[in-house]
Amino acid sequence: MTATTKLNGIAAVNAAIARAMAQDPKVIVLGEDVADREGGGVVGTTRGLSTRFGDERVKSTPISEQAIIGAAIGAAIGGYKPVAEIMLMNFTTVAMDMIFNHAAKLRFMSGGQTSVPLTIHTLTGAGVSTAGQHADHLEAWFAHAAGIKVVAPSTPSDYFGLMLSCIDDPDPCLMIMSAMTLRTFEEVPNDLAPIPLGKARIVEEGGDVTIVAYSAMVLTARKATEALKAEGVSVELIDLRTVAPWDRETVLASVRKTGRAVIVHEALRNHGVGAEIAATIQEELFGALKAPIRRLGAPYSPVPFSKPLEAAYLVQPDDIVAAVRSVLG
């Protein structure tokens, strides 16, 4: 029996970086407060790494997101595999030029002569009273840039395995760590294999309706799935795990079987990832659909502070149950 360790998402990402650093001296870490002198990251994602691997490989930075990502890009084209922490996803917007115009495009613009094997990990997510500038899910921004992969896990094992794949990937990857997913602990095998990017996980098999979710909304959808099960509804729940590139094959195979799809994400519904998935499903499976595709996401509003507003901003299990009922007609 393989040994396991009880981890949450943060500890899982920490363990994955540590394993990658132990295996490959080219893996380096940078970001605000990431060294142990500064506490090993504001929530401890990089705790212990500078003590174990030294201050040259694990460097705390000034609060300079452009400089962080720029240094990571330069080190990456110089032969390293940087893991950069951008404390919160809203702060990636300050470094957008570096991420969008440079990290994502240098391989293509150089005709394949340079590459940017960079991993950025970043915290976000509503539900923890952090309001308008500390909680946005901006994955659609990055998914809309050709040249960057976007990962949004929901379980400790997936955080571990997907982080390993991100670090090992020859191209830039963005790892989104959503607040509500980080409370769950799980026994994770110490020798867990990397989980391939772009492969969804079928959380629950079922025949009546397909729910596609990722990140925190997988947890919400699981609650909805339990409630629906009690009503005799058989749900196939897919955790997308990677938003870009997303696993079309798994999603299309499921909807081909069920004929019904409900897509759920925490980000704004308007112009969200759900629109891309819904459009693809109707392009590929128009004749097989038994009901219109439903999309659930945040209402058209910034993330609010006040508790009842925040609850109304987030998709709740009941919203998913209602959407599923509506497609079952």
Partner: protein, 332 residues
């Protein structure tokens, strides 16, 4: 501002001076050929000519090795040519051809050639600096003596990336040199309209690094400043900001009407064209003969002509190149 007394300045020897001139001529002939090809409709591209700024990268590059790296900007072909980028793939690239450095996918604003140390060319003002830091960091982690150069203009010293980059380079003591080519105009905006200090080099004080203003059109002064900065970086003493004063002869983008500058100002700058001035100085100082320089110029003209013919004759890229190099492996 750190000022080295003139008498102690490192002077370029005769061979180095001829090398600086050779690089300047390659830049100038190449620039002229590009402008001509655009006028004749043989090239379709936005062109940010650096005519008039030849001295700066030439005098920097004679202090560099092949594996030292540069990050430059859209007005940067002179920087690349000075660093040693071969002209044939350069021409194929600006013509959008498959034999280009980037298979025609980057174009004039994104020319890249790691073999000659040209790692990034950016079309975004200020963005050469953050990435040069990373190349310098990699050089340091490698335990190498390599240095990284960030080229940028005076306008870029007013964007946030300048501040973040110089601060980080200083606190990490990176082997990077920030070479600001101050050509007096940020796009169409005159220097003093947009910049809070009379000398950009003064800003170095705020980052705890040496800052020096030099005549970027004087090969000897420029060489000395670059020599000292490169030595300092290789010795692990950290970054330097060099402000090199210069002037661009053909406006912001080739073809603009120059209405934002006076005719007299432009004429005066062009009268001090660094090419003929340095040429005459080499001959007067007995560093080169008229005949030797003429031979060099003829050979360079032939090289540029050959590169142009090669580039324009190269095939256009096949359409499947559109999906290649987005990632290492193609994704649907």
């Amino acid at each position: 501002m750190q000022q080295t007394p003139v008498s102690n300045r490192p002077l370029p020897g005769p061979e180095v001076q001829r090398d600086i001139y050779r690089r300047m001529v390659r830049i100038e002939r190449n620039d002229e050929a590009i402008r001509r090809a655009i006028k004749l409709g043989r090239l379709q591209m936005p062109y940010y000519s650096a005519r008039g700024q030849e001295v700066i990268p030439s005098a920097v590059s004679v202090n560099l090795n092949q594996d030292d790296t540069i990050c430059t900007i859209y007005r940067g072909i002179h920087d690349m040519v000075a660093k040693g980028m071969p002209l044939r793939p350069l021409w194929a690239e600006i013509a959008g051809r498959i034999d280009g450095t980037c298979k025609g996918k980057g174009g004039p604003m994104h020319l890249t050639h790691p073999e000659s140390g040209v790692m990034v060319t950016t079309g975004i003002v200020g963005s050469s600096m953050p990435i040069a830091n990373g190349l310098a960091w990699a050089a340091k982690l490698d335990g190498s003596q390599r240095v990284a150069i960030a080229y940028f203009g005076d306008g870029a010293s007013n964007i946030g990336a300048f501040h973040e980059s110089l601060n980080l380079a200083s606190v990490w003591k990176l082997p990077v040199i920030f070479v600001c080519q101050n050509n007096r105009f940020a796009e169409h905006t005159r220097y003093e309209v947009g910049t809070s200090v009379d000398r950009i080099a003064k800003r170095a004080i705020g980052y705890g690094m040496p800052g020096v203003t030099v005549d970027g059109n004087d090969p000897v002064d420029m060489y000395a400043a670059a020599f000292e900065a490169v030595e300092r970086a290789r010795a692990g003493e950290g970054p330097t900001l060099i402000e090199a004063l210069t002037f661009r002869f053909f406006g912001h983008v080739f073809g603009d009407d120059d209405k934002y500058m006076t005719k007299e100002e432009k004429a005066a700058a062009m009268e001090r064209d660094p090419l003929p001035l340095f040429r005459a100085r080499l001959i007067a100082d007995g560093i080169a003969t008229e005949g030797a320089l003429a031979d060099m110029e003829t050979a360079i003209a032939a090289e540029v002509d050959d590169a142009m013919q090669f580039g324009l004759a190269s095939p256009l890229p096949p359409i499947d190149e559109l999906r290649r190099d987005v990632f290492a492996t193609e994704i649907a």
